[in-house]
């Protein structure tokens, strides 16, 4: 047992995978001696050597395309894209190849790889460094997409992702890398892909979020609680597969819901969750499901970032509207 931040939990899970499975290799920019720009791979080069912790040239399509080729031959590559905003040069490899080969070859070839990407805003970063485009990946058939919000889930989901027979996009909330610590066993329990977590049971409305936005969402639930409103808080965790059963059961019970994400509103994954809820629970809904999201603008730079990210206040305000509806 040790207390670990989310970043340390990932580092630990990577080390564990490398030591437990010979077929795991890591590829990415600056993941070796530098230990990754966020130090997520710190110490792994020293422990596992250059043959398994592979610094690549600055070429994201290359990282994913080559990692995919390795996976076809049966390895389990874990690829790091330095920031989600730099994943797009590899988008074709992901959507046209990684996600399709199982279908193209009717299970003959498969791509059991993981693509890790730090994502999200809130650290006043430069352009392209605050992206949250999970909806793009979630729309791609054949791809799984998960987003932990706490250290134990980070380690547990990463373990499951590496063991998964299919490709997984693993999104890491930058803002939470060092935000909290959790006790973690040395061999953290795998967390199954496709299960949402009911973090806080409640009866009055359901708050749904994932990744970094869990912080504001939890705080909103606290604030609502202080005024006697019992919000049920769901950490969606896995966008694909989506745990619709848990989501629908919660909203059927509460009759009200707010979905939170930092990605732009239009076509964000919140829309899918709203659609699922209204398909399954319309007759239980007491008010429209509200979306509290980033705006349909480019993510702003440091000096105006605060105008963009959903705040606890915005979530609380939306909740109150939904409760009044």
């Amino acid at each position: 047992m040790a207390t670990r931040t989310l970043a340390q939990a990932i580092n630990h899970a990577l080390g564990l995978a490398l030591s437990e499975r010979d077929d795991v290799v890591l590829l990415g920019e600056d993941i070796g001696a530098a230990g990754g720009v966020f130090r997520l791979t710190d110490g792994l080069l020293e422990r596992f050597g250059r043959g398994r912790v592979i610094d690549t040239p600055v070429a994201e399509s290359g990282i994913v395309g080559v990692g995919y080729g390795m996976a076809l031959a049966g390895l389990r590559p874990v690829l790091e894209i330095q920031f989600m905003g730099f994943s797009y040069p590899a988008f074709d490899q992901v959507i046209s190849h990684v996600s399709r080969i199982r279908n193209r070859s009717r299970h003959r070839f498969t791509a059991p790889l993981v693509i890790r990407m730090p994502y999200g805003g809130g650290i006043g970063a430069a352009e392209h460094h605050s992206e949250s485009t999970e909806a793009l990946y979630a729309h791609v058939p054949g791809l799984k997409v998960v987003v932990p919000s706490r250290p134990a889930d980070a380690a547990g989901l990463l373990r499951s992702a590496i063991e998964d027979p299919d490709p997984v996009v693993f999104l890491e909330p930058i803002r939470l890398y060092r935000a909290v610590r959790e006790e973690l066993p040395d061999r953290p329990e795998p967390v199954p892909l496709g299960s949402a977590a009911i973090e806080r049971p409640g009866t009055d409305l359901t708050l749904l979020a994932w990744g970094a936005m869990m912080t504001e969402t939890r705080a909103a639930a606290e604030e609502l609680a202080s005024t006697g409103v019992h919000a049920e808080v769901l950490d969606v965790r896995s966008l694909v597969p989506l745990d619709v059963a848990t989501i629908a059961a919660s909203v059927a019970k509460t009759g009200r819901a707010v979905v939170v994400h930092e990605a732009p509103r239009t076509g964000g994954f919140g829309a899918e969750i709203v659609a699922q809820i209204q398909e399954r629970c319309l007759y239980s809904l007491e008010a429209p499901v509200a979306r509290v999201t980033g705006w349909d603008t480019v993510f702003p730079l440091k000096r105006s970032e605060r105008h963009y990210l959903p705040s606890t206040e915005r979530i609380v305000a939306a909740a109150r509207r939904v409760l009044a509806g």
Binding site: G62, G65, H107, R108, P241
Partner: protein
Amino acid sequence: MLRILAPDGELVAEPPATVDTRALYRAMTVARVFDRRGSALQRQGRLATYAPFEGQEAAQIGSVAALRPDDWLVATYRDAAAMWSQGYPMELLIAGRTGHEGGGAPPESVNVLPPSITVGAHMLHAVGLAWAERYRRSDRVALTMFGDGATSEGDFHEAMNFAGVYRVGCVFLCQNNGWAISLPTERQTAAATLADKAIGYGMPGVRVDGNDVLAVYEATEAAVLRARGGDGPTLIEAVTYRVGPHTTADDPGRYRAEEQTEAWRQRDPIDRLRRYLAGRGEWSRPWQDELEREAAGLVDAAVTAAEALPAFTAGEIFDATFAELPPLLAEQRGWATGAADPAGPA
């Protein structure tokens, strides 16, 4: 440009010792029969699409002949001859072109990926495959085939660069067939030759007469030996020509002069090898007839088998998306098969 057989079938250099020339001739003949049938079937509406490779048989058969049966081949929509020659069942090559996903599933023993339809991306896959083999201490190599057009894509660059940096055992075989659909090679790049592109990646670049099966074999064999020995990748430019249309939907009359095509027809790779064999008394009309009969039989059987593959049921289109169907997909499958209300949970 490396050449062993002149167009008239005369030797201009020492032929490689390690190759069965009659076997090459047989394979090229089968490939030609396959190819002609492919175009015919498409015209009859029995194939969804077909990309003829007539004129490129030497480049495909000659290069693959230098591989071991367990080496990897990562090729394109136009490389059916190469894929078949590396063990990909002919019926699956046809099945794919009829529009059946089953065509993408070669037997476990065949290390050939389904054909790449996107231009460019697949070269990276070959680099990864070759790298994984070395990681496992296997000496299997990967050969990837692509066209002149593919050298314009960013992924070509990244694949060549990775291969160079990590000295991966990957052979890059470019079939420069003169055209990327309607764009001639000389309007695709200002480089003097495609082989020159190797320099920027610190690997050898070899230019070879792509209609000379012996030269293609020799160049590939050298590259494969380098790769297998751990000495890294090679780029081979096989200079050839796409005698037919780009696909059966294409009309080359819009963008190229028939005379050019006619001139290349005169340099047909099969004719060339036939002249050589005939000159050595290794070719005869009866043998030719026998080969053609054999080829027709193979192709007939493959077509029959491909067309006999039952089309997928509605449920089957879901079943290879993931190893296991997640709940939402299972639900959709229910709607699609009529097991649940087709309108969904409206």
